[in-house]
């Protein structure tokens, strides 16, 4: 028996000695990032996943780049100008190399757009088609010049081109789309693919011939870690260097840890309660206004979001083009809320239910319900699991009476259209507009602003829209939020307002 035991112990020791201890701190030439999951493909045109875009931008370049200050910068295009309302000219950077050694040409640029637009084809393969559907044709003028021709004036073109990676035509035609999306992804970006182990990690290595010059880190690893507690534990033990979306309750813990700190920045995400304008009580404007007066936005921001947020007047955020700084947010005024509620025919209050699937924001959601209850809009909050049942209930069937709390990220497009159209336009695609919001004349104004290129002409229309929706109050307008990264103290990197992880800017710190 004792002999048995001792041999077992010896065996166990031997086993442990053989095992590499992967918890040991990463070497300095590797930057490891935790993402909740991986996109289905590395092909930058064939998915629409934030987690995929974050990987793609470090492997591929687009015609334009967006600086951390949100200005357009040259990338694969060195200069650009509008020749008329529908034709844009781009000069291409010369001598840019793909990871396989081939030189990028105007052919590759045209090919990249064509594989998404698929001219003449009925059914489009790429989920990004909707983003650039306005582009009718890409014309090669000469080796260094292309023209992008849109079917009508398309003011969002620049924004869309910031993430529209250029891919190598000859390479994809040789290896096929499937290999390109999994094992043979080739771009012009700072890092090239080494290995992708699905749901484990994507490993990249720096590309020596990258046109910006070599990045500070030789290797970048994107690990897929679905659980927040796990990624925090990895951060604290050096298993990963950057984690995203740190919530308010974890801020101090990570900030005060000897090995980790945070970097936080306001981002383009706006919170609101979509009110159901089809049914009572929110079919009455005064009741919707009452709901807006009932919310103490500052209290929520200060007490529940660690002060990381700003109250908003409507859903259009200060950072977005078209924002009207002249309009003031609804103040917190419970007395006025009660008056308006009485005016709307509910002197004794009214019972409502609000729904939400924003599970990370449950405490805030419950606080909103409480504040509404205090002025007489007695609210039951119903929390849903984000998933099929919720999507069906809310989006497909529009049954979330009397309203739904949620937030919108604008697809990282800094333009009023990117929030107004998807939320309030009544054509399919408008989450709220499809069922809940009915503001007379709003569709027409959104369409009008969309069809103009001249910023000077678009701006007044957006001002009118914001006045209109502030007055009509199709939603309770709440606040913006910050995105906070948890970062190893060995890494110098700043969170960006567009939530991108542009790791070329990351440097080792001593």
């Amino acid at each position: 028996m004792t002999r048995w035991l001792s041999s077992l112990v010896v065996l166990a020791c031997a086993l442990l000695a053989v095992c590499p201890v992967s918890a040991s701190a990463q070497t300095k030439d590797t930057l490891t990032v935790a993402l909740p999951s991986h996109a289905p493909t590395l092909d930058p045109h064939m998915h629409f996943e934030r987690v995929g875009i974050l990987v793609n931008i470090n492997m591929f370049d687009s015609l334009l780049h967006r600086s951390a200050k949100l200005e357009f910068e040259p990338s694969l295009a060195t200069s650009w100008k509008a020749l008329n309302d529908t034709t844009w000219e781009f000069k291409l950077r010369k001598g840019v190399k793909f990871h396989n050694g081939a030189t990028m040409t105007a052919e590759d640029v045209k090919y990249s757009f064509d594989r998404v637009i698929e001219p003449g084809k009925e059914k489009k393969k790429s989920p990004q088609y909707g983003n650039i559907r306005a582009i009718k044709e890409v014309k090669i003028v000469n080796a260094d010049t292309v023209h992008l021709i849109t079917d009508k004036p398309f003011p969002l073109l620049m924004e869309r081109l910031v993430f529209f990676p250029i891919v190598p035509k000859a390479h994809i035609e040789k290896v096929g789309e499937e290999a390109f999306g999994s094992t043979a992804a080739v771009g012009t970006g700072p890092w090239k693919l080494v290995e992708w182990k699905k749901d484990q990690y994507i490993k990249l290595e720096s590309f020596d011939q990258h046109w910006r010059g070599k990045p500070a880190y030789k290797y970048v690893v994107f690990r897929a870690i679905p659980e927040v507690a796990t990624s925090v534990a990895e951060l604290k033990t050096g298993g990963v260097d950057i984690i995203r979306n740190v919530s308010a309750d974890l801020l101090n813990d990570i900030k005060n840890h000897p090995l980790t700190t945070i970097s936080t920045t306001p981002i383009l995400r706006v919170h609101y309660v979509a009110l159901d304008m089809r049914t009572a009580p929110f079919d009455k404007k005064v009741v919707r206004q009452a709901a807006n007066y009932a919310i103490d936005k500052q209290a929520v921001i200060q007490k529940m979001m660690a002060g990381l947020g700003k109250q908003v007047t409507t859903v259009v955020q200060p950072a977005a083009f078209g924002f009207d700084p002249g309009l003031q947010p609804y103040p917190y005024d419970p007395k006025k809320a009660k008056e308006l509620l009485a005016q709307g025919g509910y002197p004794n209050g009214v019972d409502i239910t609000l729904h939400s699937a924003a599970v990370d924001w449950r405490p805030q959601f419950e606080a909103l319900g409480q504040m509404l209850t205090e002025v007489g809009i007695r609210t039951t909050v119903k929390m849903w699991d984000p998933g099929p049942a919720w999507n069906k209930f809310f989006q497909t069937e529009g049954k979330a009476t009397h309203g739904a709390y949620g937030n919108w990220g604008n697809y990282s497009v800094f333009d009023a259209d990117a929030v107004l159209h998807p939320l309030y336009h009544t054509e399919p695609g408008g989450w709220i507009g499809k069922h809940y919001a009915r503001v007379e004349g709003l569709d027409k104004l959104i369409d009008e602003a969309r069809s103009l290129v001249d910023p000077a002409k678009r701006k007044p229309i957006y001002s009118r829209i914001q006045q209109m929706i502030r007055e009509e109050a199709p939603s309770i307008f709440l606040f913006t939020q910050n995105d906070t990264l948890g970062i190893s103290r060995k890494v110098a990197y700043e969170a960006r307002p567009d939530e991108w992880l542009w790791l070329y800017a990351a440097k080792p710190k001593n």
């Binding site: 289905p40 629409f48 009925e122 679905p226 507690a229 033990t237 298993g239 989006q395 399919p428």
Partner: protein, 304 residues
């Protein structure tokens, strides 16, 4: 014996059909995948996609197509990955099976000796401590045990990796976590099974023959107490797969559970169907094997 096997096999088939019907029905009731695949697309494009996916056909047609294809291992392409759903499931299978197997090994390795000891030293301190641990173990959710083990062993003491699935050392915490899920039940079963046989005549006879206590326990008593344990392991396999979902999520393991959970959230019908189907098959097969094992462990069982 043959009739017994045939009967079991027929039951196996019936269960398979039941499983596919349920899988099919649940997913039918849960919304429109097209609006998730093409969130920005206009209605015309969505209609075309629905057409291409066959979502317009009447339900019986869809079900029939589903069953005939499933029999060939063809669940269609994942909406999300655009690859064969069955292939994706099979790709993740070994990881989850390895995790479940390790967990069972750990659970048995702990539960059997402790169960035996608490049976033969009934009402002793060891028995009471073991019972207390059983209660504790069964009242702690898997993900909580996982995070606690991680905080202790990986963050506090730094002896094991936090997460991942790339070395032996990274498999220890998840396997223990998932094993902890089954250990209490196993322990309980071993204890009561031992108590049942330990005072029977043949055990007393064995003792009377002058055999050592250990030999009596291990050869005579345990062999007969093994029967309910084997059954429970078979049944536990299903629960283990359930527990594996959480364990895989907590420890970032690229297994089947994680694949399916994500597919459910994304309304990726083919993966959910393939995954549930494959797991159901494994469980049904395991139970089938347990039935057969029974016969060998206890020849007195009637083959009904």
């Amino acid at each position: 014996m043959t009739a017994f096997l045939i009967r079991r096999f027929l039951r196996f088939i019936v269960v398979c059909i039941g499983v596919s019907l349920v899988t099919f029905a649940i997913l039918q009731a849960s919304g429109d995948p097209v609006s998730l695949i093409m969130p920005e697309a206009p209605e015309a494009d969505r209609a075309k996609l629905r057409e291409a996916l066959g979502l317009h056909d009447p339900l019986p047609t869809q079900f029939l197509r589903f069953v005939t294809n499933a029999a060939r291992g063809d669940f269609g392409k994942s909406f999300f990955y655009r690859q064969s759903a069955f292939g994706l499931v099979v790709e993740r299978m070994p990881t989850t099976l390895a995790l479940a197997a390790l967990a069972i090994v750990i659970a048995v390795a702990i539960a059997v000796p402790v169960g035996i000891v608490s049976a033969i030293r009934r009402n002793s301190v060891i028995d009471h401590v073991a019972t207390a641990i059983v209660f504790l173990g069964q009242s702690m959710p898997v993900f909580w045990i996982g995070i606690m083990l991680m905080l202790l062993f990986a963050v506090q003491w730094r002896v094991l990796p936090v997460s991942g699935w790339d070395s032996w050392s990274s498999m220890i915490l998840p396997a223990v976590t998932l094993g902890a899920f089954s250990t209490p039940l196993f322990m309980r079963i071993v204890r009561s099974a031992m108590l049942e046989v330990i005072n029977l005549d043949y055990v007393r006879t064995a003792r009377a023959k002058g055999l050592t206590e250990w030999f009596v326990i291990c050869r005579h008593a345990l062999w007969n107490a093994a029967l309910p344990v084997v059954t429970v392991i078979g049944i536990q396999l299903g629960l283990l797969f359930g527990g594996a979902v959480l364990t895989e999520t907590v420890f970032a393991i690229p297994g089947l559970g994680r694949l399916i959970v994500r597919a459910i959230v994304q309304l990726d019908f083919p993966i959910v169907q393939a995954g549930v189907f494959v797991i159901a098959m494994i469980i049904v097969t395991a139970n089938f094997l347990v039935d057969i094992l029974y016969v060998f462990l206890n020849p007195t069982i009637r083959l009904r």
